[in-house]
């Protein structure tokens, strides 16, 4: 019973964290609020996709072959990685140029593409783990022998989701307790680490498909120090892309990822904070004029 609740929590928490962070970011600026409908549209599209994927995993539908599933997983992970980095860069730039955008209103059209990125990101975040949750819950409840058992299992599933929502709420609370600048900084680091985990996960699929050569496999074996079967190693694997037996090609791409991220953030500059002092007054003026 506890296991059911735990697995549902584990499967939903990643998506809820991503959606929660994006939601909090968007809510803080008037310009960002325009993105909220896109975010929710992405969440709903993600739920739809999760059900479609679940039907494949349950063997009900065969629109994706076994290899097709692997490709799909790889593409979802890699696209999500790119979109997370893009969102982080965009938020930084957005925070810095908010004033200009409000005055000019010229970038509204340019933002359109970012909103699509936001929609797709939310969709993937929900669909990736959501499909597994659907299969897990459906299968577990269907396997419950008596009706009473199935109900209790369903309740445990709801409990797990509620715990994940609680995690989401604590995150929202965190956004209020610490300064916006620090909240942005922390969530930015979290998202960039998560994107690196998505990258490594996607590369794993490509290696499995035989598309990406390993060059040298493995480069080292650190399983004696930190295994990935459970505990800290598992958390680091899921949220930072840690591997106990990395392939050389994956290691090089991982290093390349961090190089690109640092370059992009350096070039973008700014700390992603809202304009302060004088510019805030300007923002107010601009809003009044509009």
């Amino acid at each position: 019973m506890d296991q059911v609740a735990f697995i549902v929590w584990r499967e939903s928490v990643e998506a809820l964290l991503v959606i929660g962070i994006l939601f909090t970011w968007l809510r803080t600026t008037p310009q960002g609020r325009k993105g909220l409908p896109w975010l929710w549209a992405g969440v709903f599209a993600g739920l739809g996709l999760a059900v479609l994927l679940a039907l494949v995993l349950l063997g009900v539908s065969t629109w994706l072959s076994s290899e097709g599933q692997e490709w799909f997983q790889a593409i979802m992970a890699l696209v999500a990685c790119v979109l997370v980095v893009q969102m982080v860069v965009w938020m930084r730039r957005h925070g810095r140029t908010l004033k200009k955008e409000l005055e000019g209103g010229m970038r509204a059209e340019l933002d359109q593409s970012n909103w699509w990125g936001l929609l797709v990101l939310a969709m993937i975040a929900v669909a990736r783990e959501g499909s597994e949750t659907v299969v897990f819950l459906y299968g577990t409840i269907a396997a419950g022998d008596s009706a009473g058992m199935a109900w209790r299992l369903a309740l445990a599933g709801v409990g797990g989701f509620a715990t994940a929502l609680l995690t989401f709420w604590i995150l929202q609370l965190g956004g209020k307790l610490i300064t916006w600048r620090r909240f942005f900084k922390l969530t930015e680091i979290f998202l960039l680490l998560l994107a690196s985990a998505l990258l490594v996960g996607g590369l794993d699929h490509l290696v499995s498909l035989g598309v990406l050569p390993t060059l040298m496999d493995p480069v080292w074996d650190s399983s004696w120090l930190l295994g990935t079967s459970g505990g800290l190693g598992k958390v680091l694997a899921d949220f930072a892309g840690y591997r106990a037996y990395p392939a050389l090609s994956e290691l090089l791409i991982w290093l390349g990822y961090w190089f690109c991220v640092f370059y992009l953030l350096r070039r973008t500059g700014g700390s992603g904070t809202l304009p302060k002092g004088k510019s805030t007054v300007r923002v107010a003026n601009a809003t009044r004029q509009a």
Binding site: Q3, I7, L57, L58, G59, V60, W63, L64, S65, S66, E67, G68, W71, F72, Q73, S131, E132, V135, F136, Y138, G139, T140, A142, A143, D204, H205, V207, S208, L209, G210, T214, D217, P218, D221, S223, T228, S229, G230, A237, R243, A244, Y245
Partner: protein, 126 residues
Amino acid sequence: MRERVKKVVTRLSRSVGMWLAGLGLMLGLNGNVYADGLPTFTLTFRADGTFDPVRLEVPSGRFKLVLINDSKEPVEFESLPLRKEKVMGPGVKSFVVITISRPGQYPFFDDFHQDVKGTLVVVPKK
């Protein structure tokens, strides 16, 4: 000018269409081609919550592992060292292709029933 734009757009949409068709072919129709001729092993998730076999010996290199879920519950074959994560509904049969060059022992488990564990033993190719 407009003519030219039109031409580029048609050409672009045509190539995108072909690319999508190619992707569809890759995903759907040719699903099993890449796994042909590989050494094949079978791993069953049994109804009593154990793996069959618990210890699986394979030669190093590339091989195909057929996964059969004989239990009434959903299972997830998972092993980060093997770079695999596969969710399967009750009664589903599927497969994964694994490439491991270094001989050694690699643990795998059922992520939905974490006490269900097994070991893949990779032996040097003769």
